[in-house]
């Protein structure tokens, strides 16, 4: 067949110079369409001799494939170009603000309570809770603070009002979480390891006192627990809580009605430039009270003091939160100032644990 080469050249040239999809479609109909030039040539095959056909057939088929491929490639190219052109017009100012999303926060008291819980849980201490309105027996008598004890006066206790005719001694708002220790002893007996975190109340309000604050107390009872164990537990706690490698604790003899011997515990620290650093320096910071549980307290808790002994300690959650996170004012903890909540609060997913660490 003559003129195939010329046809190929003409068609391919037309394809490559097609301006848009419509021109391309026109070209397709005119070449490989039913009545297109290539199709018409293929019809001629029937009138050929077998020898001629053997040559012309494959040549025509090849031409047809080539034209189809060229059309498809050109079509894809045109589509890309059109898309590119459209995308060029779809420009956004991506410096505009995103859709806003509220960010919630966890209060430092909750966060620090969770931190303390994570640490003591690892040492086998469960978390015990109890009522905040307490009978004076749980809050005082059971803790070896009889009615005339000066500690009752010194604790600035809040009393609940009593109806006329109700002759019971007035209930109190618990002045410490120690009544929970008594309740735990009565409920579970010995051996026992619990911490008791929660709200406590004292009638005091000034720069450094609020009528409500938070305490966590710890209690461990077994046959041979000693004050040396207490010191170790507190050393481990302070190191882990303040996230320092080493810390020095000083036990100072003191007195609490519910422990004997009793000790106030100071940690070595420095206040250089108003910044607290735990574990170094020449200052001492009083952070908790502790001691060996008084035999009378064990008895009140239904535990035989000739068989069991143990330690107890207590500290302020708000206070250790202030120390660790550099929060200056206790009163602001309870003011719910949104700026404060956002600044000192913690992200919901910052759940303290021991494998990732307590704080970020």
């Amino acid at each position: 067949m003559d003129g195939l080469d010329a046809l190929r050249a003409k068609v391919l040239e037309a394809v490559s110079s097609a301006k848009d999809e419509a021109a391309l479609e026109e070209l397709r109909v005119a070449t490989v369409g039913k009545k297109g030039e290539v199709s018409l040539k293929m019809r001629e095959l029937g009138r050929m001799t077998p020898e001629e056909r053997q040559v012309a057939g494959p040549a025509l088929n090849a031409l047809k494939d080539e034209v189809n491929a060229a059309l498809a490639a050109k079509k894809a190219g045109l589509a890309d170009a059109a898309l590119n052109e459209r995308l060029q017009t779809e420009w956004l100012d991506v410096t505009l603000p995103a859709r806003s999303r509220r960010a919630g926060t966890i209060h430092p008291i909750s966060q620090v309570s969770d931190e303390v819980t994570a640490l003591f849980a690892d040492l086998g201490f469960a978390v015990a809770e109890g009522p905040q309105v307490e009978s004076d027996w749980y809050n005082f008598d059971a803790l070896n603070i009889p009615s005339h004890h000066p500690a009752r006066g010194e604790m600035d206790t809040f009393y609940m009002s009593r109806e006329d005719g109700d002759e019971r001694p007035p209930h109190v708002l618990r002045t410490h979480t120690s009544p929970v220790q008594i309740r735990s002893m009565l409920a579970q007996g010995a051996p026992l390891r619990v911490i008791c975190p929660g709200r406590v109340y004292r009638a005091d309000y000034d720069q450094t006192h609020t009528p409500m604050f938070h305490q966590v107390e710890g209690l461990a009872i077994d046959r041979d627990i000693s004050m040396a164990n207490l010191k170790w537990v507190l050393e481990e706690f302070v190191k882990a809580f303040f996230e320092v490698d080493d810390v020095e604790l000083r036990f100072r003899a003191s007195h609490f009605p519910f422990t004997e011997p009793s000790a106030e515990v100071d940690i070595r620290c420095s206040w250089e430039g108003g910044q607290l650093k735990i574990g170094e320096g020449d200052d001492w910071l009083e952070i908790l009270g502790s001691g060996m549980v008084h035999p009378k307290v064990l008895e009140a808790g239904g535990i035989d003091p000739t068989e069991w002994q143990g330690f107890a300690f207590g500290m302020g959650i708000d206070r250790i939160a202030m120390l660790k996170y550099g929060i200056p004012d206790l009163r602001a903890f309870f003011d719910s100032d949104l700026r404060w909540l956002r600044h000192y609060g913690f992200a919901a997913l910052d759940q303290p644990n021991l494998y990732a660490g307590l704080s970020r």
């Binding site: 603000p97 806003s100 999303r101 509220r102 919630g104 926060t105 209060h107 909750s110 819980t117 040492l123 086998g124 201490f125 978390v127 009522p131 905040q132 309105v133 005339h148 004890h149 000066p150 006066g153 010194e154 809040f158 009393y159 609940m160 009002s161 109806e163 708002l173 051996p191 709200r199 009528p211 461990a220 000693s226 004050m227 040396a228 164990n229 010191k231 170790w232 537990v233 507190l234 050393e235 604790l249 000083r250 036990f251 100072r252 003899a253 003191s254 007195h255 009605p257 004997e260 011997p261 000790a263 060996m292 035999p295 002994q309 309870f334 719910s336 100032d337 949104l338 909540l341 919901a348």
Partner: protein, 802 residues
């Protein structure tokens, strides 16, 4: 408790430095709260000599002095009348801080002539109120430190004042002698022997004493005597100095002496003006209703059962607390009756608390004084009175008998090791106890009369460990209770509390911790404020009642934040609420509020006022997080602080309310001064049923490969028909086939009524059909659709919207 170093050294023979003493005090449990060491304040002042003094050319009252100091000859202008040649003076050179005038001395010109320092008066150095002229020293070297001179010549002026905190168990340390005893036991010297004072009586006491039979417990023993012909007046300087140093105001010799023994030996005393006492004294219990004007000039009305001392005129003194004004001593007192008694700590504490009298005597008697020293004390006081005021003492009269305080406990020297974890040799333990005044008989330790706090073996351990120093205690690992991976410790409720808290924070709420008590009006708005929840002694009216709900506290927080300009708020709290005043009337709740808009103004038009469906979604998310079942009822009829038409109770049955959500009643918002509207919710985590069995295994998941089909239906129903009715009816029409029913549109309001008739609205639902065996045919879909239409029409009283 305050005392001075020299006072301590009256009782303690020691070479220890001040710092060593301070360290030991704190370490022994007598925590040092403050030290005032005047020597430190005055360390820069030196002694000078006025070599020449001339009148200032331009001022009659000023003198130009040439003063020899450690820095050579210096010119100082001085206005003191006694500034003259030849005297030794105290010089503050430029740069020295002068406490009495609160000024750092500089170089200055006074009327044109330069002055290089200041010569000081006693007042300027805060040594006394003396300001008639500058100090003239009788001795001293030029350039010598003035504090060194004072230490040698007038030690009281540079006597360090030490203040320690006394724990309630240590009344013995409320006397300087007791403090000395502790320090001696620690090895810081020796307690000086106290000579026995004995003043024989020259005549029989004209005033006798008796104790009523029912008062022998309140006042077991009473000693007294008359001293005639005393001359009261101001105390000598040494006594005044002592009292002033520890913050007491000198009053008169007689009163000052009683104060002296109160602090010196923890021995409160009382002196009556014997001329004002009529007849004998009788110790008895008050009947109630009596009145007495005490030495503080206040009129007290007594309850029954208070320990009082009366004469023929009536009640003259509140035993162990405060004397009466009528029989009190004055400057003119000539004859006195001196009292030394022992009053019961418990009764003293109750009386003192009831009458709100805080006296040094009460403070000591309620903690417990040394009864054995009562007869000794009266002799010592008699002698001091006679030494300082003259007079003649009668014989001592006595009533009652010395209370028996004798007791002994077994000293188990191994106990220190097992309880404290310190190894202290037995001999040392015995030595410590002996030094503290215990008497050891075999292994029994007899408690000294001044230690009412020692009441068992554990106390002996405490004494030994305290004196040995707990600072030396070495930590020892506490073995795990169980070997291996620690078990989880939180209870299911504690886990719920945490889950609720973290879920709410992740939903964008800020956690608050608000006070457990609020004002009564706010409490009343939320069903509280009853007398059962009232505090007897609230700190203010803002905090008078236990909160019945967390909502009022959160709303108050919202109001405070609105006042600061923050109008879009999402606040929550998880904590206790109180429905009564008994310990069991407390429950854990989680509450949240939304106020204002969903977010700040923005360009995405996403900002809208918060509404009921925001808090509904959040409450549902929390319920889901704490394990509440997905299928719940939403009922109405919650308490009156909710908007009556815009709230729902999330219930499992009509009585089992898991949560309430809704809009807060506008009246409540007005009352609490909140710019509303405000949405809120309250969740009671304990109400959510706990699973009966706990298993980590999930039920098997059955996935269907067959395609699900969704069909939409719109129904015309009455306005008050609730969507849940349609959903439940549709879901119930073929439980096997219908997987899910969702409301996707509500069309109501005037336009809707125009189309569908008055009081009508349209609700549209999507029903998802999930075949399990074979693909649904059109006929099957039609059949199920017909059933849905029938069921919904029947249940909701509606028709399919054309």
């Amino acid at each position: 408790m305050k005392f001075t170093l020299s006072w301590l050294k009256d009782h303690l023979e020691t070479d220890a430095t001040l710092d060593e003493i301070l360290y030991a005090l704190t370490d022994l449990g007598l925590e040092v709260e403050g030290v005032e060491n005047p020597a430190e304040r005055l360390s820069a002042f030196t002694i000078g000599y006025v070599a020449k003094a001339e009148k200032h050319p331009d001022a009659d009252k000023l003198r130009v002095c040439q003063v020899e100091t450690d820095g050579g000859k210096t010119q100082i202008i001085c206005g003191a009348p006694n500034a003259r040649e030849g005297i030794k003076v105290v010089v503050a050179k430029p740069g020295v801080y002068v406490p009495g005038i609160d000024t750092v001395i500089g170089v200055g010109k006074i009327r044109g002539i330069e002055s290089y320092g200041m010569m000081c008066s006693e007042r300027e150095m805060e040594l006394s109120d003396e300001h008639d002229g500058i100090i003239e020293l009788p001795s001293g070297e030029i350039g010598q430190s003035f504090t060194h001179w004072l230490e040698e010549n007038d030690p009281a002026k540079v006597d360090p004042v030490i203040e320690i905190a006394i724990t309630p168990n240590r009344p013995d340390a409320l006397g300087v002698r007791g403090i000395a005893r502790d320090l001696a036991a620690r090895g810081l010297g020796k307690v000086k022997a106290q000579e026995r004072a004995s003043v024989p009586g020259a005549f029989a006491s004209p005033i006798d004493v008796s104790i009523d039979a029912d008062a022998t417990e309140a006042c077991p023993v009473f000693y007294g005597r008359v001293i005639k012909g005393v001359k009261n007046g101001p105390s000598p300087a040494w006594l005044q100095d002592r009292l002033k140093a520890i913050g007491l105001r000198p009053i008169s010799i007689l009163v000052d002496i009683t104060n002296f023994f109160t602090y010196d030996n923890n021995r409160p005393l009382h002196v009556f003006d014997a001329n004002k006492v009529s007849g004998d004294l009788r110790v008895h219990l008050s009947k109630g209703g009596e009145r007495m004007v005490a030495l503080d000039d206040k009129d007290y009305t007594l309850d029954a059962g208070m320990t009082v001392i009366s004469d023929a005129n009536g009640i003259e003194s509140l035993g162990g607390i405060m004397g009466g004004a009528a029989s009190g001593c004055t400057e003119e007192t000539v004859n006195v009756f001196l009292e030394a008694a022992f009053f019961d700590p418990i009764r003293t504490a109750h009386t003192g608390r009831k009458l709100k009298i805080n006296s040094d005597a009460r403070y000591r008697f309620e903690r417990g004084i040394d009864p054995e020293w009562t007869p000794e004390g009266i002799e010592h006081a008699t002698r001091m009175i006679m030494d300082l005021c003259g007079g003649k003492a009668s014989e001592v009269v006595m009533a009652g008998q010395m209370p028996d305080h004798s007791r002994a406990y077994k000293l188990d020297t191994d106990r220190v090791q097992s309880l404290v974890g310190m190894e202290i040799p037995g001999e040392e333990q015995r030595k410590t106890l002996t030094a503290l005044g215990f008497t050891l008989e075999g292994d029994m330790a007899h408690v000294p009369s001044w230690r009412p706090d020692v009441l068992g073996e554990a106390d002996l351990v405490e004494e030994v460990a305290r004196v040995a120093s707990l600072t030396k205690l070495e930590g020892k690992p506490l073995p795990r209770a169980d070997v291996g991976v620690p078990k989880p410790v939180l209870t299911p409720m504690q886990k719920r509390e945490q889950a609720a808290r973290r879920m709410l924070a992740s939903l964008g709420y800020n956690e608050c911790v608000t006070y457990s008590f609020i004002d009564q009006p706010s409490a009343e708005l939320f069903g509280g404020g009853s007398d059962a929840t009232k505090l007897e002694n609230p700190i203010s009216t803002e905090m008078s009642h236990l909160r019945p709900s967390l909502l009022p506290g959160l709303l108050q927080a919202a109001a405070r934040n609105q006042a600061r300009g923050f109008m879009d708020l999402a606040l929550f709290e998880v904590g206790p609420a109180f429905h009564g005043g008994e310990p069991e009337d407390q429950q854990l709740v989680a509450s949240g509020i939304l106020v204002g808009h969903s977010g700040p103004k923005d360009m995405h038009a996403a900002r809208r006022p918060v509404d009921v469906f925001d808090v509904k979604a959040d409450a549902e998310a929390v319920l889901n997080a704490i394990g509440a079942p997905a299928k719940v009822q939403i009922l109405r009829g919650a308490e009156e602080w909710w908007h009556p038409g815009r709230h729902g109770k999330v219930c499992l049955g009509p009585k089992k309310v898991l949560a309430v959500f809704g809009e807060i009643h506008p009246k409540v918002l007005t009352a609490m001064d909140i710019k509303g509207p405000a949405m809120g919710f309250t969740i009671w985590p304990a109400e959510v049923p706990f699973p009966k069995t706990k298993s980590a295994t999930r039920p098997a998941l059955h996935l269907r490969d067959l395609q699900a089909v969704e069909r939409d239906f719109a129904f015309v129903v009455d306005q008050n028909v609730e969507a849940l009715v349609l959903v439940n009816a549709a879901a119930g029409s073929d439980k096997a086939l219908i997987q899910d029913v969702r409301v996707f549109d509500e069309f109501s309001g005037p336009k809707a009524e125009e189309q569908m008739g008055a009081g009508k609205k349209s609700l549209a639902i999507t029903v998802r059909l999930q075949p399990s065996e074979k693909t649904l045919t059109d006929e099957e879909i039609e059949a199920v659709s017909a059933k849905i239409i029938e069921k919904v029409s029947k249940a909701a009283g509606g028709t399919l919207r054309g």
